[in-house]
């Protein structure tokens, strides 16, 4: 007696497509998350250095530090989005260090959400820089 085999490809492809979506999500969405994380880290590194370089122990110095961070032209999400909600903090003496946090970098998830992943993934970054850094002498 011949066993009916119709529809096997449909079932196999359905299962394979879900697995494929997960693999595509790992490559595409995780790739973008890693890039966003790296871009945010490089931005906060530069922003902390920019802020720290303006500190002189005065309130005017703090203002100049905030302006220096706001003026940085760097972007994220493959260089397409500006950083928003950036937080700049300073040492109590207003002259030792500056800390910059970029907390709102939300990467929209494309494929992983189809297999139960989140719709957005936040990749915050923060850096601290000393006001008087060790300089390279060469």
């Amino acid at each position: 007696m011949r066993v009916r085999q119709k529809g096997f490809v449909l079932i196999a492809m359905s299962v394979a497509m879900v697995v494929m979506l997960a693999v595509m999500g790992l490559a595409f969405d995780l790739g973008r998350i890693y890039i966003a994380s790296n871009e945010a880290q490089v931005f906060t590194d530069a922003a902390a250095m920019a802020a720290a370089s303006k500190l002189d122990g005065t309130d005017a110095g703090l203002d100049r530090a905030r302006q220096a961070v706001a003026k940085l032209p760097m972007r994220w999400n493959l260089g397409t989005k500006s950083f928003t909600g950036v937080v700049v903090q300073f040492s109590p003496d207003k002259m030792s260090w500056a800390r910059v946090t970029a907390p709102d970098n939300q990467v929209e998830i494309t494929f992983l959400r189809a297999v139960g992943g989140p719709a957005v993934f936040t990749v915050p970054a923060h850096s601290v820089a000393a006001a008087k850094p060790v300089r390279l002498v060469e």
Binding site: V42, M49, A50, R135
Partner: protein
């Protein structure tokens, strides 16, 4: 058999796209790391400006740092990112209001094409970083 052929075509296309975008994102991430490291190096190194040739030599050292991770690489040094060359890296000093001292430095990948097996992606003017200059300013020194 026909449905298997059609389905396999779709799967292969998805797989090719996954490889293509995955590799491109990997390379872009490497470029972000490279310009970040180069920018930080540029920000902290000594700016020697005795002549335009010294400034250009300084830029060359920064470009080498981006590409090779070394300001003075060995002749057979390999780039940190596949096929990246120093001439594809653009270094621009941003001068202060007086126009005499560097205030910041821009490091940009001017033009880079990723060969991702099934297609090409071209990056122009990205990734880019700007770091404040916090190094030593030596306007009368020559670049060694």
């Amino acid at each position: 058999m026909i449905e298997l052929a059609v389905s396999a075509g779709v799967m292969v296309a998805c797989l090719a796209g996954t490889v293509q975008f995955g590799y491109t994102f990997y390379i872009y991430n490497e470029l972000v790391t490279a310009v970040g490291n180069g920018g930080r190096y540029a920000a902290m190194r000594t700016f020697r400006g005795a002549g335009s040739r010294d400034i250009e030599k300084g830029k060359e050292a920064i470009r080498n740092m981006v590409v090779y991770g070394d300001s003075h690489p060995a002749p057979n040094a390999l780039p940190q990112v596949a096929n990246l060359k120093p001439e594809q890296v653009q270094v621009d000093w941003v001068m202060d209001d007086s126009g005499t001292q560097p205030a910041a430095v821009n490091v940009t990948i001017a033009d880079y094409t990723v060969d991702a097996a099934f297609g090409m992606f071209r990056f122009t003017g990205k990734p880019a970083v700007e770091y404040p200059f916090v190094g030593r300013f030596a306007p009368s020194e020559n670049e060694p």
